[in-house]
């Protein structure tokens, strides 16, 4: 006999792969934008990119775009649509424990980020090359806690917003500023100070910094990693409470 959680996770993974929003926004969008913006600044190390190859800078940054697309758009829309249409009530009435759905969403988010991240690297490798990872442990911690934090934010948004349309609107409003100022846009050094300050305050910037700096060997941002871990802990606690675990 398969457990309720296993059956739910299996179904959710299968359904996600059939979802056009996931296929376009989480899998294709980061790859396309990485190819465009990575190519826009060339491959010569530049002071604006902390003396790194700009293409490599963006390869190391775009994992975060995948995390943001999953946490700020895919999961809120998915969950809000389920709530709006009564799918969650049906699951609950059939005896699926609430925690099993939360676990399914966490697994779904992590699996999506992993698949999209691998695809990103597969496409980047022949075009720009993959930069060497200087500190795998810190990169892994940044990835893991950044992913958990944004997945939890996604679950939280999905439980708060009343409809899939509302979730899409709010998710995109949160995604694009974060994307442009904190991960996939111009490097912070070319921004004005006001924009840079805004960017520094964005959770997605913390996650990008906690991954990119140790990946490219341009710093060991322990303070930022602590911020990311704290974000993950707080967001998970609030999302779990909201989901009444």
């Amino acid at each position: 006999m398969t457990s309720a959680a296993t059956r739910l996770i299996r179904a959710e993974l299968r359904l996600t792969m059939r979802d056009p929003l996931v296929l376009t926004f989480v899998l294709v969008f980061p790859i396309v934008t990485m190819l465009i913006i990575g190519g826009a600044f060339g491959t010569t190390p530049d002071v604006a990119f902390e003396h790194q190859n700009p293409a490599h800078w963006y390869v190391a940054s775009y994992f975060t775009v995948v995390i943001a697309a999953t946490g700020l758009v895919m999961l809120p829309v998915h969950l809000a649509a389920y709530r709006e249409r009564g799918v969650l009530r049906r699951f609950a009435a059939a005896g699926f424990p609430r925690w099993s759905f939360a676990l399914a969403e966490l697994t779904l988010g992590l699996a999506t980020i992993a698949v999209a991240g691998v695809l990103l690297l597969v496409v980047a490798a022949p075009v720009y090359g993959i930069p060497a990872v200087h500190d795998l442990g810190r990169v892994a911690l940044g990835l893991l806690f950044g992913s958990i934090g944004f997945i939890s934010i996604g679950v939280l948004l999905g439980t708060l917003l009343p409809s899939a349309r509302a979730a899409q609107a709010v998710g995109l409003m949160l995604f694009f500023p974060s994307f442009l100022l904190g991960a996939g846009g111009p490097p912070p050094h070319v921004m004005g100070s006001a924009l840079r300050h805004v960017g520094d305050a964005l959770p997605l910037t913390w996650v990008t910094t906690s991954i990119r700096q140790p990946w490219l060997g341009i710093g060991t941002p322990t303070g930022t990693l602590v911020q990311v871990i704290a974000l993950a802990v707080v967001a998970t606690a609030v999302a779990a409470r909201r989901a009444a675990l």
Binding site: M1, T2, A4, R7, L8, A11, R14, L15, R18, D19, Y82, R85, G86, V87, R89, R90, A92, A93, A94, G95, P97
Partner: protein, 325 residues
């Protein structure tokens, strides 16, 4: 009555599938279910009927462990849905009002997802409900009738002893309704206990052994559909065009006839069900066989409308109407 008292606590008979005592539930100060008592015994098909906002769905959601009551005690298949809502939900087969499945989930995948392993033969169920050919179809592509049949399959999948069906045939065309009715009738023959929430009174009349009429969170009356009709639905009405002016007096003397009206040539006879045969016999005896004879029988809809039109005095309801079983 199957309820007994042990150590001051109300317990349920082994035949009771659902026992509810003093159920109360309110939303934001508005009382939706008020001091409700309800018993459902094994093998019964019980219908909850009433207008919108009567508290029917809230009542079954409390029974299913989907809502926490403000007061009252509930036992469902020996389990307390307030303390163990998760366990209760695994014991009940549920078809919910206004719910759906993920659009891209296929029929066979839905069955795999909801099957716990202790269930019925899923292929046989799909075949029985006419879904075998649609097993690879996505939920979004199913017609309304196919969706309801799939919900029935999912509700029955794990051999529940209690099935809760909320607005099962809402929005279905007549043929699809008949298919679903046949499925519920089959459940009854198999001895499954069914709690049916419906606005469709012909459905309640056709399927339920007992119906419970609700208004404003309270039970107005309950009993077999025919009993409710007899108690509340008023009179049968027989109308026809008569040639013999002396007919009216003869009709008034017939057993069961309550009133006879005549306007122009049109005669209207009001009476109980017996009066229908009496009037027919009298017409034949007098050689009158009107081609336009029309009979309107009292039905559950008329009974419910009468109940809903009655003035609502909560205290009177307590004294006179609740638990007339």
């Amino acid at each position: 009555m199957s309820v007994s008292m042990i150590d001051g606590m109300t317990t349920m008979d082994s035949e009771d599938v659902v026992t509810v005592r003093g159920l109360r539930k309110s939303y934001g100060g508005r009382v939706v279910v008020d001091e409700m008592d309800l018993d459902v015994r094994a093998g019964e098909v019980v219908g909850l009927i009433g207008a919108n906002g009567a508290g029917k769905t809230t009542t079954v959601e409390c029974i299913q462990g989907l809502r926490r009551p403000d007061a009252g005690t509930l036992r469902v298949l020996g389990t307390d849905p307030v303390r163990e809502p998760g366990r209760v939900r695994t014991l009940i087969g549920s078809q919910l009002q206004d719910s759906a499945l993920p659009d891209r989930l296929r029929v066979s995948e839905a069955v795999d997802l909801f099957a716990t392993g202790r269930g019925r033969d899923r292929h046989e169920l799909l075949e029985r409900f006419g879904l075998t050919a649609r097993r690879r179809a996505a939920f979004a592509s199913l017609s309304g009738g196919e969706r309801q049949r799939l919900f029935l399959v999912l509700a029955l999948l794990n051999r529940p002893r209690l099935v809760v069906l909320d607005e099962l045939t809402q929005g279905l065309d007549p043929a699809a309704r008949r298919d679903v009715w046949a499925a519920v009738a089959q459940l009854q023959r198999e001895g499954t206990t069914v709690l049916l929430v419906t606005h469709e009174l012909d459905e309640a009349e056709a399927l339920c052994g007992r119906v419970i009429a609700m208004r404003n969170g309270r039970i107005l009356d309950q009993g077999r559909p025919a009993e409710l009709v007899a108690r509340h639905a008023g009179w049968a009405r027989i109308s026809f065009t008569a040639r013999d002016p002396g007919l009216v007096e003869g009709l008034r003397r017939l057993p069961g006839v309550r009133q006879v009206d005549i306007a122009a040539d049109r005669v209207q006879v009001h009476g109980d069900r017996r009066s229908i045969a009496q009037v027919g016999a009298e017409l034949v005896r007098r050689g009158e066989v009107p081609a336009d004879l029309d009979v309107v029988l009292p039905d559950l809809e008329a009974a419910l409308l009468h109940l809903l039109d009655a003035p609502l005095d909560p205290k009177a309801d307590d004294r006179e109407l609740v638990n007339l079983r």
